[in-house]
C-alpha cells in the first residue's frame, strides 16, 4: 500500500509551518494530481503548491517537480515543470511537496532541512543578478550539490510578470512567472536538504523496473547530445521557425542548429537528479555558464532576426542575469522591433531595450511589465510569450487553450507533424489533442520528464514502477485518474476565470504560411468553439457523481 503523501505547509505571514499527511491524496497517484487537489483545498489563500511524484528520484528520468499556482502573467491557473534536484531533495527531506501560503512582510529566505525549518531575512540577496544570488547562497548556506536551491531573479523583484523561478542555478520553472509569484509573497530563496532513506518494498521488482527504464532512457542519446535544440533542424526542414516576429517562417543558414551552436559556445551538459540522459545544455559565455534549449534560442534568435550563436548567447546571458523568461522576452522584443520600426537582428538594440524594460522608467516599458501584450502586431497569447513553433493548428491551439505553453508540455506540434498534407477536421483535431492530454497527464502525475514522454506515457511502465514501490494501482485506475486529473485542471482554469473563447488570437497566425498552409481563422475559431462546447463547458466540468 502506498504511504500517504506528506506535504510541508509554509505560512509566510505567520512564519510558521505544519507537516500534514493526506490519506485522501493516495488515489490521485502523485505530482499534478496531488498539487491540483491541494491548490483547490487552499484556493482562497492563493497557494503555491510544489509536488514530486511517487517515482521521483528513485527511478531514472523521474526528475521533475510540478508547480501549481495562479499565474501573475495571466491571472489564471498555471502549471509549470522544473528539473534539477528539487524532486530528489524534497523526497530526501521527507516530503512529497510544499504548500506555500500567506505573504511575508519582508523579503524572506526559508531553509528546509528535514524537520528543521527556518525563516530568515533575505535582504542581502535583493538586487543581485540571478547567478550572483546562487553564488551568495552557496557561500552562506548548505553544501553545494547537497541541497536544492530555489531563487528568484531581480526582474521578479522589479515587478516583471514573466520572471521564472530558478532551480539549482541551471534549471527553471518556465512560463507563467512563478518567480514573480514568489516575489509577490516576498519569498526570495527557498532551500531544501535532507538525507532520509526509504526501504525498498520489492527489491527484485524494483531492480527489474529500474534496469528496464535505464535501458529505455539510453535510447535518448540524440536528446542527450543535442538537447531540445535538436528540434530546430526539424523546424527548419518544414519551414516552421518563426523569424522576424513571424514575418516569415523559414530559417536561413545552419549556425544555430544544435551541433554548430554547441561547438560555437563551448557547451557542456548536466543532468537532473536521477536522470542518466543529461539533456540540459549550458553555453559558456564571457562570464558564466548559461542554460539554453530550443525555445530560448528560437525566441532570442530567429524571432529577433539573429542567426549567430554568439549574439544569441549574449541575449540568453542577459535574460538569465536579470531574470526574464527568454520566450516571453523574445516575444516582447520582437513586437517592439516591428511596432517601433526598428531593425531586426541588432543585439545591441535588444540589450538596451531589455535594460529599459527592467528599469521600467519610460511609460512604454511599464506597459510591458506584467504580461506579454496582446496588441495587433504582438504574438503574445493570453499574456504569455509565443512558443516558437509555427507548425500549424494543433501547436497554436495548445497554447491558446493553455494546454502547452512549453516544449515539454505542448503535444500539438507533434500532432501537427502527423497532420501534414492531410485534410484537417476541427472536431477531430480537438479530439486528438485532448486524447494526447490524458497520456500526458499520467506522466505529469508520475512527474516523469515530459521530454521522455514515450517512456512515462506508457501505462505498463507506470504500473510496474508503482508496483515495485508497493503502490497497487490497476491500469484502469491509472487511466481513469489521468482523465479526472486533466478535468480537474480544466475546472480550476475555469474557476480562475479562464475562458478559451476570450483569448485574442494573433492575426499574424492567419497570414504567414505554416507547414499546413496559411491557417484559416474560421477553422481555428471553430476548434476553440468545439473545445469549449465539448470539454470546457461549465456543466461538463462538474465533478462526476
Amino acid at each position: 500500500m502506498m504511504v500517504a503523501p506528506t506535504f510541508l505547509q509554509l505560512n509566510l505571514t505567520s512564519r510558521t509551518f505544519e507537516v500534514k499527511s493526506y490519506q485522501e491524496l493516495i488515489p490521485l497517484v502523485g505530482g499534478l494530481g496531488w498539487a491540483l487537489a491541494l491548490y483547490e483545498q487552499f484556493f482562497e489563500e492563493d497557494p503555491i503548491v510544489l509536488a514530486g511524484g511517487p517515482l521521483s528520484a528513485v527511478f531514472p528520468g523521474a526528475s521533475k517537480t510540478v508547480a501549481v499556482f495562479r499565474s501573475p502573467q495571466t491571472g489564471f491557473l498555471a502549471t509549470s515543470f522544473a528539473g534539477g534536484n528539487l524532486a530528489r531533495f524534497l523526497r530526501a527531506a521527507g516530503y512529497q511537496g510544499l504548500v506555500i501560503l500567506g505573504r511575508s512582510s519582508s523579503s524572506t529566505m526559508v531553509t528546509v532541512d528535514e524537520d528543521k525549518i527556518e525563516f530568515a531575512e533575505a535582504n542581502r540577496f535583493l538586487g543581485l543578478n540571478t547567478p550572483k544570488v546562487f553564488e551568495a547562497i552557496a557561500s552562506s548556506a548548505g553544501v553545494p550539490g547537497r541541497q536544492s536551491v530555489l531563487a528568484t531573479g531581480p526582474a521578479a523583484e522589479q515587478g516583471i510578470g514573466y520572471s521564472p523561478l530558478y532551480v539549482d542555478e541551471f534549471f527553471s520553472f518556465p512560463r507563467h512567472g512563478l518567480g514573480r509569484a514568489f516575489a509577490l509573497k516576498n519569498l526570495k530563496v527557498l532551500t531544501v536538504a535532507g538525507e532520509k532513506s526509504e526501504e525498498i518494498k520489492d527489491e527484485r521488482r524494483y531492480r527489474e523496473v529500474f534496469e528496464s527504464l535505464y535501458r529505455k532512457l539510453q535510447g535518448h542519446r540524440e536528446l542527450a547530445q543535442l538537447g531540445t535544440l535538436r528540434n530546430l533542424a526539424v523546424e527548419k526542414k518544414i519551414s516552421a521557425v518563426p523569424t522576424n516576429n513571424l514575418a516569415e517562417s523559414s530559417l536561413l543558414g545552419e549556425e544555430l542548429l544544435a551541433p554548430s551552436f554547441a561547438e560555437e559556445t563551448a557547451a557542456r551538459r548536466i543532468s537532473c537528479g536521477g536522470c542518466p540522459v543529461g539533456c540540459i545544455h549550458l553555453l559558456k559565455g564571457d562570464q558564466r555558464f548559461t542554460f539554453y534549449d530550443y525555445e530560448s534560442v528560437a525566441a532570442l534568435g530567429p524571432l529577433l532576426g539573429i542567426f549567430e550563436p554568439g549574439k544569441v548567447a549574449v541575449l540568453l546571458e542577459k535574460a538569465w542575469g536579470l531574470g526574464f523568461d527568454p520566450v516571453c522576452l523574445g516575444t516582447v522584443l520582437a513586437y517592439l522591433t516591428e511596432a517601433e520600426k526598428l531593425n531586426f537582428g541588432n543585439e545591441e538594440t535588444y540589450l538596451t531595450l531589455t535594460d529599459a524594460l527592467f528599469a521600467g522608467r519610460e511609460p512604454w516599458a511599464r506597459d510591458f511589465r506584467e504580461s506579454v501584450p496582446v496588441y495587433p502586431k504582438s504574438l503574445g497569447i493570453a499574456g504569455l510569450g509565443f512558443l516558437p513553433y509555427f507548425n500549424g493548428y494543433a501547436s497554436l491551439l495548445s497554447q491558446v487553450l493553455l494546454l502547452g505553453e512549453t516544449t515539454e508540455e505542448n503535444r500539438g506540434f507533434l500532432l501537427d507533424l502527423d497532420l501534414l498534407e492531410r485534410e484537417i477536421d476541427p472536431a477531430e483535431l480537438v479530439r486528438q489533442l485532448v486524447e494526447a492530454q490524458y497520456s500526458k497527464t499520467l506522466t505529469e502525475s508520475l512527474v516523469g520528464c515530459g521530454y521522455l514522454a514515450s517512456v512515462f506515457e506508457d501505462p505498463a511502465t507506470a504500473f510496474a514502477a508503482l508496483q515495485a514501490l508497493g503502490a497497487e494501482f490497476s491500469h484502469d485506475h491509472l487511466q481513469e485518474t489521468a482523465r479526472n486529473t486533466f478535468r480537474q485542471k480544466l475546472i480550476l482554469q475555469h474557476r480562475t476565470g479562464f475562458r478559451p473563447a476570450d483569448v485574442k488570437i494573433p492575426e499574424k497566425f492567419f497570414r504567414i504560411p505554416s507547414p499546413q498552409g496559411v491557417l484559416e481563422k474560421e477553422k481555428f475559431e471553430r476548434m476553440v468553439q468545439v473545445y469549449e462546447e465539448e470539454y470546457f463547458f461549465e456543466e461538463k466540468l462538474q465533478p462526476e457523481r
Binding site: 550539490g145 532513506s197 526501504e199 525498498i200 557542456r268 537532473c272
Partner: protein, 77 residues
C-alpha cells in the same frame, strides 16, 4: 592490493547522482542518495563541474556502480 572505485574522468560527470543511489542500495539496501561511501558534490557555484567524495575505508569496488555511470566516469583499479 584491494581494488577501489576510482573516479577517473569526473570532468565528464553531469551530476545525475545515479551512482549514489545505487551505492546506497548495494551497501544499505535502501533508496537514498546519501548514507553510502559515495557522494557527488558540486565543485563550486556557477560551474557545472562535480567531484566524487569516496570513503575508501570500506569496500568500493562495485562494478555495478562503475557501469551505471552514463558518462563512464569510473574505473575499478
Amino acid at each position: 592490493m584491494p581494488k577501489i572505485l576510482k573516479p577517473a574522468r569526473m570532468e565528464k560527470c553531469t551530476g545525475c547522482g545515479l551512482c549514489e543511489l545505487l551505492a546506497s542500495r548495494l551497501t544499505k539496501g535502501k533508496l537514498s542518495y546519501s548514507g553510502s561511501f559515495l557522494q557527488i558534490r558540486k565543485v563550486s557555484s556557477g560551474k557545472p563541474h562535480f567531484k566524487a567524495v569516496i570513503d575508501y575505508g570500506q569496500k568500493t569496488d562495485y562494478p555495478e556502480i562503475r557501469d551505471i555511470c552514463p558518462e563512464n566516469c569510473y574505473d575499478i583499479e
